[in-house]
Protein backbone atom coordinates (compact mmCIF):
# COMPACT_ATOMS: atom_id res chain seq x y z
CA UNK A 1 0.00 0.00 0.00
CA UNK A 2 1.17 3.55 -0.65
CA UNK A 3 2.90 5.05 2.36
CA UNK A 4 1.84 8.55 3.27
CA UNK A 5 4.01 11.15 4.90
CA UNK A 6 2.39 13.09 7.68
CA UNK A 7 2.87 16.76 6.84
CA UNK A 8 0.31 18.39 9.07
CA UNK A 9 1.52 20.75 11.77
CA UNK A 10 -1.09 19.32 14.12
CA UNK A 11 -0.49 16.01 15.84
CA UNK A 12 -2.91 13.26 14.91
CA UNK A 13 -4.10 10.25 16.77
CA UNK A 14 -3.12 7.93 13.95
CA UNK A 15 -1.17 7.77 10.70
CA UNK A 16 -2.71 9.07 7.46
CA UNK A 17 -4.52 6.35 5.53
CA UNK A 18 -5.53 5.81 1.93
CA UNK A 19 -8.88 4.34 0.92
CA UNK A 20 -7.37 0.94 0.14
CA UNK A 21 -5.27 0.81 3.32
CA UNK A 22 -8.28 1.71 5.47
CA UNK A 23 -10.49 -0.86 3.77
CA UNK A 24 -7.78 -3.49 3.92
CA UNK A 25 -7.23 -2.90 7.64
CA UNK A 26 -10.90 -3.72 8.26
CA UNK A 27 -11.10 -6.70 5.90
CA UNK A 28 -7.91 -8.23 7.32
CA UNK A 29 -9.16 -7.83 10.88
CA UNK A 30 -6.37 -5.43 11.89
CA UNK A 31 -9.08 -3.08 13.09
CA UNK A 32 -12.85 -2.76 12.90
CA UNK A 33 -14.86 -0.12 11.05
CA UNK A 34 -16.28 1.03 14.39
CA UNK A 35 -12.79 1.40 15.92
CA UNK A 36 -11.50 3.16 12.82
CA UNK A 37 -14.36 5.66 12.87
CA UNK A 38 -13.77 6.20 16.60
CA UNK A 39 -10.10 6.99 16.00
CA UNK A 40 -11.06 9.63 13.44
CA UNK A 41 -13.62 11.12 15.81
CA UNK A 42 -10.87 11.23 18.47
CA UNK A 43 -8.64 13.18 16.10
CA UNK A 44 -11.49 15.55 15.36
CA UNK A 45 -12.05 16.12 19.10
CA UNK A 46 -8.33 16.76 19.65
CA UNK A 47 -7.52 18.91 16.63
CA UNK A 48 -10.67 20.57 15.34
CA UNK A 49 -10.89 23.19 18.10
CA UNK A 50 -7.81 24.76 16.43
CA UNK A 51 -8.96 24.23 12.84
CA UNK A 52 -12.76 24.47 12.90
CA UNK A 53 -13.29 22.35 9.79
CA UNK A 54 -16.45 20.62 11.06
CA UNK A 55 -19.91 22.14 11.51
CA UNK A 56 -21.70 18.98 12.66
CA UNK A 57 -20.89 15.34 13.33
CA UNK A 58 -23.23 12.52 12.31
CA UNK A 59 -22.03 9.98 14.81
CA UNK A 60 -25.26 7.97 14.93
CA UNK A 61 -25.38 7.43 11.17
CA UNK A 62 -21.64 6.76 10.99
CA UNK A 63 -21.74 4.18 13.77
CA UNK A 64 -24.73 2.36 12.27
CA UNK A 65 -22.90 2.13 8.95
CA UNK A 66 -19.68 1.01 10.63
CA UNK A 67 -21.51 -1.83 12.42
CA UNK A 68 -23.01 -2.94 9.10
CA UNK A 69 -19.56 -2.96 7.50
CA UNK A 70 -18.09 -4.97 10.38
CA UNK A 71 -20.81 -7.60 9.92
CA UNK A 72 -20.04 -7.85 6.23
CA UNK A 73 -16.33 -8.13 6.99
CA UNK A 74 -17.04 -11.00 9.41
CA UNK A 75 -19.13 -12.89 6.88
CA UNK A 76 -16.45 -12.59 4.18
CA UNK A 77 -18.61 -10.42 1.92
CA UNK A 78 -15.85 -7.81 1.55
CA UNK A 79 -13.17 -10.21 0.28
CA UNK A 80 -13.55 -8.94 -3.27
CA UNK A 81 -12.19 -5.37 -3.47
CA UNK A 82 -14.82 -4.45 -6.06
CA UNK A 83 -17.56 -5.09 -3.49
CA UNK A 84 -18.17 -1.90 -1.51
CA UNK A 85 -14.89 -0.23 -2.57
CA UNK A 86 -15.26 2.34 0.24
CA UNK A 87 -16.19 -0.14 2.99
CA UNK A 88 -15.51 1.45 6.36
CA UNK A 89 -13.69 4.46 4.92
CA UNK A 90 -14.27 7.63 7.01
CA UNK A 91 -15.38 10.51 4.76
CA UNK A 92 -16.61 14.06 5.42
CA UNK A 93 -19.16 16.03 3.37
CA UNK A 94 -19.14 19.78 2.59
CA UNK A 95 -22.18 21.42 4.16
CA UNK A 96 -23.66 22.49 0.80
CA UNK A 97 -24.52 18.85 0.06
CA UNK A 98 -27.60 17.43 1.75
CA UNK A 99 -27.29 14.34 3.92
CA UNK A 100 -29.96 12.75 6.09
CA UNK A 101 -29.13 12.62 9.77
CA UNK A 102 -27.30 15.95 9.72
CA UNK A 103 -28.06 19.62 9.20
CA UNK A 104 -27.25 21.30 5.88
CA UNK A 105 -26.42 24.93 6.58
CA UNK A 106 -24.46 25.87 3.42
CA UNK A 107 -22.32 27.84 5.90
CA UNK A 108 -25.24 30.26 6.34
CA UNK A 109 -27.49 31.42 9.18
CA UNK A 110 -30.46 31.24 6.86
CA UNK A 111 -30.30 27.42 7.02
CA UNK A 112 -29.07 27.07 10.58
CA UNK A 113 -31.70 24.51 11.61
CA UNK A 114 -32.39 22.93 8.24
CA UNK A 115 -32.38 19.13 8.31
CA UNK A 116 -32.75 17.73 4.79
CA UNK A 117 -35.23 14.90 4.17
CA UNK A 118 -33.02 13.23 1.56
CA UNK A 119 -29.43 12.45 0.55
CA UNK A 120 -27.66 14.12 -2.34
CA UNK A 121 -26.92 11.56 -5.08
CA UNK A 122 -23.17 11.96 -4.52
CA UNK A 123 -23.65 11.29 -0.80
CA UNK A 124 -25.94 8.32 -1.45
CA UNK A 125 -23.37 6.81 -3.82
CA UNK A 126 -20.62 7.05 -1.21
CA UNK A 127 -22.87 5.44 1.39
CA UNK A 128 -23.89 2.67 -1.02
CA UNK A 129 -20.19 1.97 -1.60
CA UNK A 130 -19.70 1.49 2.15
CA UNK A 131 -18.33 4.86 3.25
CA UNK A 132 -18.72 5.91 6.87
CA UNK A 133 -19.93 9.52 6.72
CA UNK A 134 -18.46 11.36 9.70
CA UNK A 135 -20.20 14.72 9.43
CA UNK A 136 -20.56 18.07 7.62
CA UNK A 137 -17.74 20.41 6.79
CA UNK A 138 -17.39 24.15 7.11
CA UNK A 139 -17.37 26.27 3.96
CA UNK A 140 -17.83 29.82 2.71
CA UNK A 141 -21.52 30.80 2.83
CA UNK A 142 -23.35 29.28 -0.15
CA UNK A 143 -19.92 28.36 -1.53
CA UNK A 144 -19.14 32.02 -2.21
CA UNK A 145 -15.57 32.74 -1.31
CA UNK A 146 -11.90 31.85 -1.72
CA UNK A 147 -10.73 31.67 1.89
CA UNK A 148 -13.49 30.11 4.06
CA UNK A 149 -13.69 33.49 5.87
CA UNK A 150 -17.27 34.00 4.69
CA UNK A 151 -18.76 31.19 6.76
CA UNK A 152 -21.46 32.39 9.16
CA UNK A 153 -19.99 29.92 11.65
CA UNK A 154 -16.42 31.22 11.74
CA UNK A 155 -13.36 30.69 9.54
CA UNK A 156 -11.37 27.51 9.04
CA UNK A 157 -7.64 27.55 9.87
CA UNK A 158 -5.10 25.98 7.54
CA UNK A 159 -3.66 22.90 9.31
CA UNK A 160 -0.29 23.57 7.68
CA UNK A 161 -0.14 27.03 9.26
CA UNK A 162 -2.92 27.93 11.67
CA UNK A 163 -2.76 31.72 11.09
CA UNK A 164 -3.48 31.22 7.40
CA UNK A 165 -6.57 30.46 5.36
CA UNK A 166 -7.21 26.96 4.03
CA UNK A 167 -8.61 28.43 0.84
CA UNK A 168 -12.26 28.36 -0.19
CA UNK A 169 -14.99 27.79 -0.53
CA UNK A 170 -14.33 24.13 0.43
CA UNK A 171 -11.86 25.11 3.16
CA UNK A 172 -13.23 22.65 5.73
CA UNK A 173 -13.09 19.76 3.24
CA UNK A 174 -9.45 20.45 2.36
CA UNK A 175 -8.38 21.02 5.97
CA UNK A 176 -10.05 17.83 7.21
CA UNK A 177 -7.96 15.69 4.85
CA UNK A 178 -4.77 17.69 5.49
CA UNK A 179 -5.19 17.31 9.26
CA UNK A 180 -5.99 13.62 9.03
CA UNK A 181 -9.53 14.06 10.36
CA UNK A 182 -10.96 12.06 7.42
CA UNK A 183 -9.49 9.77 4.75
CA UNK A 184 -11.26 11.79 2.06
CA UNK A 185 -13.93 14.47 1.78
CA UNK A 186 -16.38 15.84 -0.76
CA UNK A 187 -16.23 19.46 -1.79
CA UNK A 188 -17.68 21.57 -4.57
CA UNK A 189 -16.05 23.80 -7.18
CA UNK A 190 -17.79 26.63 -9.03
CA UNK A 191 -14.79 28.90 -9.67
CA UNK A 192 -11.94 26.97 -8.04
CA UNK A 193 -13.37 25.95 -4.68
CA UNK A 194 -11.91 22.44 -4.73
CA UNK A 195 -8.63 23.09 -6.51
CA UNK A 196 -7.49 26.23 -4.69
CA UNK A 197 -8.02 24.88 -1.13
CA UNK A 198 -6.33 21.65 -2.21
CA UNK A 199 -3.36 23.74 -3.29
CA UNK A 200 -3.32 25.80 -0.08
CA UNK A 201 -3.59 22.75 2.21
CA UNK A 202 -1.26 20.39 0.34
CA UNK A 203 -3.79 17.73 -0.71
CA UNK A 204 -5.24 16.43 -3.96
CA UNK A 205 -8.47 18.07 -5.23
CA UNK A 206 -10.29 16.85 -8.34
CA UNK A 207 -12.64 18.89 -10.54
CA UNK A 208 -14.76 16.50 -12.64
CA UNK A 209 -16.14 17.60 -16.01
CA UNK A 210 -19.49 19.42 -15.84
CA UNK A 211 -22.19 16.76 -15.75
CA UNK A 212 -19.81 13.94 -14.75
CA UNK A 213 -21.15 13.87 -11.19
CA UNK A 214 -24.81 14.52 -10.34
CA UNK A 215 -25.67 17.86 -8.72
CA UNK A 216 -28.91 16.52 -7.20
CA UNK A 217 -28.87 17.48 -3.54
CA UNK A 218 -26.20 20.16 -3.99
CA UNK A 219 -27.53 23.47 -2.68
CA UNK A 220 -27.11 25.42 -5.89
CA UNK A 221 -24.85 28.46 -6.28
CA UNK A 222 -24.38 28.71 -10.07
CA UNK A 223 -26.08 25.88 -11.90
CA UNK A 224 -24.02 26.00 -15.11
CA UNK A 225 -20.72 26.08 -13.19
CA UNK A 226 -21.17 24.00 -9.99
CA UNK A 227 -19.29 20.68 -9.71
CA UNK A 228 -19.04 18.06 -6.93
CA UNK A 229 -15.60 16.48 -6.41
CA UNK A 230 -13.27 14.76 -3.92
CA UNK A 231 -10.36 15.82 -1.72
CA UNK A 232 -7.88 13.02 -1.03
CA UNK A 233 -4.30 12.35 0.11
CA UNK A 234 -3.43 10.56 -3.16
CA UNK A 235 -4.31 10.62 -6.84
CA UNK A 236 -5.29 6.94 -6.64
CA UNK A 237 -7.90 7.79 -4.00
CA UNK A 238 -9.30 10.55 -6.23
CA UNK A 239 -9.59 8.00 -9.04
CA UNK A 240 -11.37 5.50 -6.79
CA UNK A 241 -13.83 8.14 -5.59
CA UNK A 242 -14.49 9.47 -9.09
CA UNK A 243 -15.41 5.97 -10.20
CA UNK A 244 -17.97 5.76 -7.38
CA UNK A 245 -19.37 9.26 -7.96
CA UNK A 246 -19.53 9.46 -11.75
CA UNK A 247 -22.52 8.55 -13.87
CA UNK A 248 -25.93 9.75 -15.09
CA UNK A 249 -28.72 10.57 -12.66
CA UNK A 250 -32.40 10.86 -13.59
CA UNK A 251 -32.70 13.48 -10.83
CA UNK A 252 -30.18 15.80 -12.58
CA UNK A 253 -31.08 16.66 -16.16
CA UNK A 254 -27.59 18.09 -16.76
CA UNK A 255 -25.82 14.89 -15.72
CA UNK A 256 -23.96 13.23 -18.57
CA UNK A 257 -24.63 9.83 -20.09
CA UNK A 258 -20.99 9.37 -21.08
CA UNK A 259 -19.68 5.92 -20.10
CA UNK A 260 -17.68 5.80 -16.86
CA UNK A 261 -14.17 4.39 -17.48
CA UNK A 262 -12.38 2.38 -14.80
CA UNK A 263 -10.46 5.39 -13.47
CA UNK A 264 -8.86 3.41 -10.64
CA UNK A 265 -7.29 0.89 -13.01
CA UNK A 266 -5.83 3.46 -15.41
CA UNK A 267 -4.46 6.27 -13.21
CA UNK A 268 -0.92 4.83 -13.03
CA UNK A 269 -0.50 4.24 -16.76
CA UNK A 270 2.88 5.79 -17.71
CA UNK A 271 2.67 9.29 -19.21
CA UNK A 272 5.40 8.77 -21.83
CA UNK A 273 4.34 10.35 -25.11
CA UNK A 274 1.68 12.65 -23.65
CA UNK A 275 1.77 16.25 -24.91
CA UNK A 276 1.57 18.84 -22.11
CA UNK A 277 0.58 22.42 -22.91
CA UNK A 278 2.06 25.35 -20.97
CA UNK A 279 0.02 28.57 -21.45
CA UNK A 280 1.96 31.84 -21.20
CA UNK A 281 -1.11 33.62 -19.85
CA UNK A 282 -0.91 31.63 -16.59
CA UNK A 283 2.75 32.51 -15.96
CA UNK A 284 2.58 36.26 -16.30
CA UNK A 285 2.60 39.06 -13.72
CA UNK A 286 1.08 38.49 -10.31
CA UNK A 287 2.48 34.96 -10.03
CA UNK A 288 4.60 34.38 -6.90
CA UNK A 289 8.17 33.48 -7.86
CA UNK A 290 8.30 30.37 -5.67
CA UNK A 291 5.04 29.09 -7.16
CA UNK A 292 6.44 29.67 -10.65
CA UNK A 293 9.61 27.80 -9.78
CA UNK A 294 7.70 24.84 -8.32
CA UNK A 295 5.46 24.49 -11.39
CA UNK A 296 8.43 24.85 -13.78
CA UNK A 297 10.16 22.09 -11.86
CA UNK A 298 7.01 20.01 -12.31
CA UNK A 299 7.13 20.61 -16.05
CA UNK A 300 10.75 19.42 -16.08
CA UNK A 301 9.76 16.29 -14.17
CA UNK A 302 7.05 15.52 -16.71
CA UNK A 303 9.55 15.94 -19.52
CA UNK A 304 11.90 13.56 -17.74
CA UNK A 305 9.00 11.08 -17.55
CA UNK A 306 8.69 11.17 -21.34
CA UNK A 307 6.13 13.90 -21.96
CA UNK A 308 6.67 16.58 -24.56
CA UNK A 309 6.08 20.20 -23.52
CA UNK A 310 4.37 22.68 -25.85
CA UNK A 311 3.59 26.36 -25.61
CA UNK A 312 -0.13 26.95 -25.99
CA UNK A 313 -2.10 30.16 -26.03
CA UNK A 314 -5.38 30.79 -24.21
CA UNK A 315 -5.75 34.39 -25.36
CA UNK A 316 -9.00 35.26 -23.57
CA UNK A 317 -7.73 34.30 -20.11
CA UNK A 318 -7.56 37.90 -18.91
CA UNK A 319 -11.34 38.25 -19.32
CA UNK A 320 -12.14 35.13 -17.29
CA UNK A 321 -12.62 36.70 -13.88
CA UNK A 322 -14.94 39.41 -15.26
CA UNK A 323 -16.93 36.78 -17.20
CA UNK A 324 -17.17 34.53 -14.18
CA UNK A 325 -18.34 37.20 -11.77
CA UNK A 326 -21.12 38.27 -14.14
CA UNK A 327 -22.41 34.76 -14.86
CA UNK A 328 -21.93 33.17 -11.43
CA UNK A 329 -23.55 36.07 -9.58
CA UNK A 330 -26.44 36.20 -12.07
CA UNK A 331 -27.13 32.50 -11.56
CA UNK A 332 -26.72 32.87 -7.80
CA UNK A 333 -29.22 35.71 -7.62
CA UNK A 334 -31.74 33.36 -9.18
CA UNK A 335 -30.81 30.29 -7.12
CA UNK A 336 -30.86 32.14 -3.80
CA UNK A 337 -34.31 33.61 -4.40
CA UNK A 338 -35.77 30.48 -2.80
CA UNK A 339 -34.44 31.50 0.63
CA UNK A 340 -37.37 33.64 1.64
CA UNK A 341 -38.55 32.25 4.96
CA UNK A 342 -41.57 30.49 3.46
CA UNK A 343 -40.81 26.77 3.26
CA UNK A 344 -37.66 26.07 5.29
CA UNK A 345 -34.84 27.77 7.09
CA UNK A 346 -34.88 31.05 8.97
CA UNK A 347 -38.04 33.13 9.08
CA UNK A 348 -37.88 36.64 10.52
CA UNK A 349 -40.23 37.05 13.44
CA UNK A 350 -43.02 39.62 13.80
CA UNK A 351 -43.12 40.54 10.13
CA UNK A 352 -46.53 42.08 9.52
CA UNK A 353 -46.55 41.57 5.76
CA UNK A 354 -45.10 39.00 3.39
CA UNK A 355 -42.82 41.56 1.81
CA UNK A 356 -41.34 42.56 5.14
CA UNK A 357 -40.89 38.89 6.00
CA UNK A 358 -38.92 38.28 2.78
CA UNK A 359 -36.61 41.25 3.27
CA UNK A 360 -36.02 40.87 6.96
CA UNK A 361 -35.40 37.11 6.65
CA UNK A 362 -32.85 37.62 3.91
CA UNK A 363 -31.24 40.56 5.68
CA UNK A 364 -30.85 38.56 8.88
CA UNK A 365 -29.92 35.31 7.20
CA UNK A 366 -27.41 36.33 4.50
CA UNK A 367 -23.86 37.54 5.11
CA UNK A 368 -22.17 40.46 3.35
CA UNK A 369 -20.51 38.53 0.53
CA UNK A 370 -23.75 36.74 -0.36
CA UNK A 371 -25.66 40.03 -0.43
CA UNK A 372 -22.96 41.58 -2.59
CA UNK A 373 -23.17 38.79 -5.14
CA UNK A 374 -26.97 38.74 -5.19
CA UNK A 375 -26.97 42.49 -5.85
CA UNK A 376 -24.39 42.24 -8.60
CA UNK A 377 -26.21 39.30 -10.17
CA UNK A 378 -29.58 41.02 -10.05
CA UNK A 379 -28.08 44.16 -11.57
CA UNK A 380 -26.48 42.40 -14.55
CA UNK A 381 -29.78 40.67 -15.33
CA UNK A 382 -31.97 43.73 -14.95
CA UNK A 383 -33.81 45.41 -17.81
CA UNK A 384 -31.51 47.67 -19.78
CA UNK A 385 -28.35 45.94 -18.57
CA UNK A 386 -28.98 42.31 -19.59
CA UNK A 387 -27.41 42.66 -23.07
CA UNK A 388 -24.47 44.75 -21.97
CA UNK A 389 -23.47 42.47 -19.11
CA UNK A 390 -25.10 39.04 -18.98
CA UNK A 391 -25.40 38.29 -22.69
CA UNK A 392 -21.95 39.76 -23.31
CA UNK A 393 -20.45 37.50 -20.63
CA UNK A 394 -22.18 34.48 -22.21
CA UNK A 395 -20.52 35.34 -25.49
CA UNK A 396 -17.09 35.74 -23.90
CA UNK A 397 -17.68 32.38 -22.24
CA UNK A 398 -17.92 30.86 -25.72
CA UNK A 399 -14.61 32.51 -26.66
CA UNK A 400 -12.91 31.16 -23.53
CA UNK A 401 -14.23 27.67 -24.26
CA UNK A 402 -13.01 27.84 -27.86
CA UNK A 403 -9.52 28.72 -26.53
CA UNK A 404 -9.44 25.37 -24.72
CA UNK A 405 -11.01 23.34 -27.54
CA UNK A 406 -8.35 24.74 -29.89
CA UNK A 407 -5.48 24.08 -27.45
CA UNK A 408 -6.64 20.49 -26.92
CA UNK A 409 -6.23 19.77 -30.63
CA UNK A 410 -2.47 20.18 -30.03
CA UNK A 411 -1.97 18.84 -26.48
CA UNK A 412 -3.46 16.18 -24.18
CA UNK A 413 -3.35 18.17 -20.95
CA UNK A 414 -2.47 21.66 -19.78
CA UNK A 415 -0.19 22.44 -16.80
CA UNK A 416 -0.56 25.66 -14.78
CA UNK A 417 -0.18 26.86 -11.20
CA UNK A 418 -3.42 26.37 -9.24
CA UNK A 419 -3.21 29.72 -7.45
CA UNK A 420 -0.94 32.78 -7.87
CA UNK A 421 0.34 32.48 -4.28
CA UNK A 422 0.48 30.02 -1.39
CA UNK A 423 -2.07 30.42 1.44
CA UNK A 424 -2.44 34.03 2.61
CA UNK A 425 -3.10 35.12 6.20
CA UNK A 426 -6.55 35.26 7.76
CA UNK A 427 -7.91 38.79 7.37
CA UNK A 428 -5.35 39.72 4.70
CA UNK A 429 -7.81 40.10 1.80
CA UNK A 430 -11.15 40.59 3.49
CA UNK A 431 -11.29 44.37 2.90
CA UNK A 432 -10.96 44.15 -0.83
CA UNK A 433 -13.44 41.84 -2.57
CA UNK A 434 -12.11 42.59 -6.05
CA UNK A 435 -8.58 41.60 -5.00
CA UNK A 436 -9.96 38.33 -3.61
CA UNK A 437 -11.82 37.69 -6.89
CA UNK A 438 -8.72 38.32 -9.03
CA UNK A 439 -6.89 35.54 -7.19
CA UNK A 440 -9.26 33.06 -8.86
CA UNK A 441 -7.71 33.76 -12.26
CA UNK A 442 -6.22 30.30 -12.87
CA UNK A 443 -9.24 28.30 -11.77
CA UNK A 444 -12.38 30.03 -13.10
CA UNK A 445 -11.50 29.24 -16.72
CA UNK A 446 -12.09 25.50 -16.27
CA UNK A 447 -15.55 26.08 -14.77
CA UNK A 448 -16.51 28.41 -17.62
CA UNK A 449 -15.39 25.92 -20.27
CA UNK A 450 -16.91 22.85 -18.58
CA UNK A 451 -13.59 20.96 -18.68
CA UNK A 452 -12.01 18.83 -15.94
CA UNK A 453 -8.92 19.44 -13.82
CA UNK A 454 -7.00 18.57 -10.69
CA UNK A 455 -4.70 20.23 -8.19
CA UNK A 456 -1.84 18.07 -6.95
CA UNK A 457 0.86 19.09 -4.44
CA UNK A 458 4.13 19.93 -6.22
CA UNK A 459 6.33 21.46 -3.54
CA UNK A 460 6.47 23.93 -0.66
CA UNK A 461 7.39 27.58 -0.36
CA UNK A 462 10.45 28.59 1.66
CA UNK A 463 8.01 29.27 4.53
CA UNK A 464 6.85 25.65 4.33
CA UNK A 465 3.49 26.42 2.70
CA UNK A 466 2.10 23.96 0.13
CA UNK A 467 2.10 24.77 -3.58
CA UNK A 468 -0.27 23.05 -6.02
CA UNK A 469 0.12 22.31 -9.70
CA UNK A 470 -3.06 22.33 -11.76
CA UNK A 471 -3.60 19.93 -14.63
CA UNK A 472 -6.50 20.62 -16.96
CA UNK A 473 -7.99 18.11 -19.38
CA UNK A 474 -10.56 17.81 -22.14
CA UNK A 475 -14.22 17.25 -21.42
CA UNK A 476 -14.64 13.75 -19.92
CA UNK A 477 -10.91 13.05 -20.07
CA UNK A 478 -10.35 12.75 -16.32
CA UNK A 479 -8.34 9.59 -17.09
CA UNK A 480 -5.53 11.64 -18.68
CA UNK A 481 -5.64 14.26 -15.94
CA UNK A 482 -5.28 11.55 -13.28
CA UNK A 483 -2.35 9.96 -15.13
CA UNK A 484 -0.43 13.23 -15.33
CA UNK A 485 -1.23 14.08 -11.71
CA UNK A 486 0.04 10.66 -10.62
CA UNK A 487 3.30 11.26 -12.49
CA UNK A 488 3.69 14.55 -10.61
CA UNK A 489 2.88 12.86 -7.31
CA UNK A 490 5.55 10.24 -7.88
CA UNK A 491 8.40 12.75 -8.00
CA UNK A 492 7.49 14.52 -4.75
Amino acid sequence: MAELKSTSSVASQHEPRTIRSARHAIVSGETSAVALADSYYDTIAAEDPKIHAWLSLSRERATAQAYRIDELAQSGDLANEEALPLAGVPIGIKDVLVMQGAPATAGSKILENYRPPYDATAVAKLAAAGAVLLGKLNCDEFAMGSSNENSAYGPVHNPRSLDRVPGGSSGGSAAAVAANMAVATLGTDTGGSIRQPASFCGVVGLLPTYGRVSRYGLIAFASSLDRVGPFTHTVEDAAILLRVLAGPDPMDATSAHQPVPNYSAAFNTPVKGLRIGIPDEYFAEGLDEEVRAAVEKTADALRAAGCTLHKVSLPHTRYAVATYYVLATAEASSNLARFDGVRYGLRAEDASTLSIMYRRTRDQGFGKEVKRRILLGTYVLSAGYYDAYYRKAQQVRTLLTRDFLEAFTHVDAILTPTAPTPAFRLGEKTDNPLEMYLADIYTVTANLAGICGISVPCGNSSAGLPIGAQILGKHFDEATVLRVAHAVEQVQ
Binding site: P117, G341, T353, L354, Y379, D387, A393, Q395, V396, T398
Partner: protein, 125 residues
Protein backbone atom coordinates in the same frame (compact mmCIF):
# COMPACT_ATOMS: atom_id res chain seq x y z
CA UNK B 1 -27.74 34.55 -33.59
CA UNK B 2 -25.38 37.53 -33.62
CA UNK B 3 -25.84 40.12 -30.88
CA UNK B 4 -26.76 43.70 -31.74
CA UNK B 5 -23.59 45.79 -31.95
CA UNK B 6 -23.00 47.98 -28.94
CA UNK B 7 -23.66 51.63 -29.58
CA UNK B 8 -21.20 54.14 -28.15
CA UNK B 9 -24.00 55.16 -25.74
CA UNK B 10 -24.38 51.60 -24.44
CA UNK B 11 -20.63 51.24 -23.92
CA UNK B 12 -20.52 54.57 -22.12
CA UNK B 13 -23.46 53.63 -19.89
CA UNK B 14 -21.72 50.46 -18.80
CA UNK B 15 -18.59 52.36 -17.83
CA UNK B 16 -20.35 54.99 -15.64
CA UNK B 17 -20.46 54.36 -11.89
CA UNK B 18 -23.83 53.18 -10.61
CA UNK B 19 -25.55 55.70 -8.34
CA UNK B 20 -26.91 54.79 -4.90
CA UNK B 21 -30.61 55.04 -5.87
CA UNK B 22 -30.04 52.42 -8.51
CA UNK B 23 -28.36 50.05 -6.04
CA UNK B 24 -31.29 50.51 -3.68
CA UNK B 25 -33.73 49.73 -6.49
CA UNK B 26 -31.80 46.59 -7.36
CA UNK B 27 -31.88 45.63 -3.68
CA UNK B 28 -35.66 46.00 -3.73
CA UNK B 29 -35.87 43.70 -6.76
CA UNK B 30 -33.73 41.14 -4.95
CA UNK B 31 -35.82 41.39 -1.76
CA UNK B 32 -32.81 42.57 0.19
CA UNK B 33 -32.81 45.30 2.77
CA UNK B 34 -29.64 47.42 2.81
CA UNK B 35 -29.18 49.18 6.12
CA UNK B 36 -27.72 52.69 6.02
CA UNK B 37 -24.36 51.60 7.39
CA UNK B 38 -24.10 48.96 4.65
CA UNK B 39 -25.10 51.15 1.75
CA UNK B 40 -21.90 53.08 1.07
CA UNK B 41 -19.67 50.04 1.31
CA UNK B 42 -21.92 48.02 -1.00
CA UNK B 43 -22.03 50.91 -3.49
CA UNK B 44 -18.25 51.17 -3.50
CA UNK B 45 -17.71 47.41 -3.88
CA UNK B 46 -20.27 47.04 -6.67
CA UNK B 47 -18.74 49.88 -8.64
CA UNK B 48 -15.22 48.50 -8.22
CA UNK B 49 -16.34 45.12 -9.58
CA UNK B 50 -18.36 46.64 -12.43
CA UNK B 51 -15.33 48.75 -13.29
CA UNK B 52 -13.36 45.54 -13.80
CA UNK B 53 -16.21 43.91 -15.71
CA UNK B 54 -16.28 46.82 -18.18
CA UNK B 55 -13.18 45.39 -19.90
CA UNK B 56 -15.43 42.77 -21.55
CA UNK B 57 -16.35 45.61 -23.94
CA UNK B 58 -12.86 45.41 -25.44
CA UNK B 59 -13.95 42.23 -27.20
CA UNK B 60 -15.82 42.19 -30.50
CA UNK B 61 -18.47 39.52 -29.97
CA UNK B 62 -20.80 40.40 -32.83
CA UNK B 63 -20.76 36.94 -34.41
CA UNK B 64 -20.24 34.90 -31.24
CA UNK B 65 -23.14 32.79 -29.92
CA UNK B 66 -23.79 33.02 -26.18
CA UNK B 67 -23.00 29.78 -24.30
CA UNK B 68 -26.46 29.06 -22.99
CA UNK B 69 -26.15 25.27 -22.78
CA UNK B 70 -22.90 23.83 -21.42
CA UNK B 71 -23.93 20.28 -22.31
CA UNK B 72 -24.45 21.19 -25.96
CA UNK B 73 -20.91 22.55 -26.18
CA UNK B 74 -19.49 19.39 -24.67
CA UNK B 75 -21.11 17.29 -27.37
CA UNK B 76 -18.44 18.68 -29.65
CA UNK B 77 -19.97 21.70 -31.26
CA UNK B 78 -19.15 25.09 -29.78
CA UNK B 79 -21.22 26.79 -32.48
CA UNK B 80 -24.32 24.86 -31.42
CA UNK B 81 -24.55 26.49 -28.02
CA UNK B 82 -27.28 28.88 -29.08
CA UNK B 83 -30.63 27.75 -30.45
CA UNK B 84 -32.38 24.40 -30.49
CA UNK B 85 -29.89 21.63 -29.83
CA UNK B 86 -31.21 18.37 -28.48
CA UNK B 87 -27.83 17.26 -27.15
CA UNK B 88 -28.41 19.47 -24.12
CA UNK B 89 -32.02 18.47 -23.49
CA UNK B 90 -32.69 15.36 -21.47
CA UNK B 91 -36.34 14.60 -20.92
CA UNK B 92 -37.94 11.78 -18.99
CA UNK B 93 -41.25 10.06 -19.60
CA UNK B 94 -44.24 12.01 -18.37
CA UNK B 95 -45.17 9.44 -15.74
CA UNK B 96 -46.21 9.84 -12.13
CA UNK B 97 -43.67 8.76 -9.52
CA UNK B 98 -43.53 9.02 -5.75
CA UNK B 99 -41.99 12.25 -4.46
CA UNK B 100 -40.65 13.16 -1.02
CA UNK B 101 -42.69 12.25 2.04
CA UNK B 102 -44.94 15.22 2.78
CA UNK B 103 -44.63 14.93 6.55
CA UNK B 104 -40.85 15.04 6.37
CA UNK B 105 -40.91 18.07 4.10
CA UNK B 106 -43.47 19.98 6.19
CA UNK B 107 -41.43 19.24 9.32
CA UNK B 108 -39.04 21.92 8.09
CA UNK B 109 -41.74 24.56 7.55
CA UNK B 110 -41.55 27.58 9.86
CA UNK B 111 -45.36 27.61 10.07
CA UNK B 112 -47.79 25.11 8.61
CA UNK B 113 -51.19 23.52 9.03
CA UNK B 114 -49.72 20.25 7.79
CA UNK B 115 -50.66 20.82 4.18
CA UNK B 116 -49.94 24.49 3.45
CA UNK B 117 -47.11 26.83 4.35
CA UNK B 118 -48.56 29.66 6.41
CA UNK B 119 -47.23 33.19 5.83
CA UNK B 120 -48.17 36.73 6.95
CA UNK B 121 -50.89 38.34 4.91
CA UNK B 122 -50.06 40.03 1.64
CA UNK B 123 -51.04 43.68 1.61
CA UNK B 124 -51.52 45.37 -1.75
CA UNK B 125 -49.96 48.82 -1.85
Amino acid sequence: MPSTPQTPEQVHRVAEPVPLEQVLRVAELAQLELREDEQQEMLRDLNAILGHVAQLNELDTRDVPPMTQVNAVMHGDAEASDGAVDAGNVLRDDSVRPSLDRAKVMAMAPETDGTYFKVPKVIER
